[in-house]
Symmetry: C2
Subunit: 96 residues, 2 copies
Amino acid sequence: MAEPLSTDEIDQQLNELPGWEYKDDKLTKEFSFDNFRDAMSFITRLSYEAEEQVHHPEIFNVYNTVEISLSTHDAGGKVTEKDIALAKTIESLHNN
Amino acid sequence: MAEPLSTDEIDQQLNELPGWEYKDDKLTKEFSFDNFRDAMSFITRLSYEAEEQVHHPEIFNVYNTVEISLSTHDAGGKVTEKDIALAKTIESLHNN
């Protein structure tokens, strides 16, 4: 089972995750796209990674925006290395 | 441009929309599925209807749940017949 990361550990990881914030025990970032189709494509694309990592973000879509929030259910809703790993995957998807 | 519906008109429509609630100026329903894949399939399926109706819900996904919220941006964020129409479409998708 993944252990919760300390605030220091999270802050260190955030250096490599531009635009991501740590708030309310979650890692969060809002992504903006040109339109709904692009937002939906991003959601679909990341859904495969979530399944592969057996770890699932909260996904909030409003038209061309997608807010992603990450925490680990099995670790009391705290941020673990599983969230860091998924955040990095999502970043690389978004930058490709 | 779609006109906001009155509370009475909304209440009347809600009779045909089981599980839907009117709160914070929006029509809302939470759908539950067996797993993430089924939730994502539902989101993908309804995304085509949203594009066709040129009307887009707020979509909040947490693993196997999908919360849909509907209001009309062009009508000051109030509920209009466009929201009723999309809610009915979403219901029919979910029941098929």
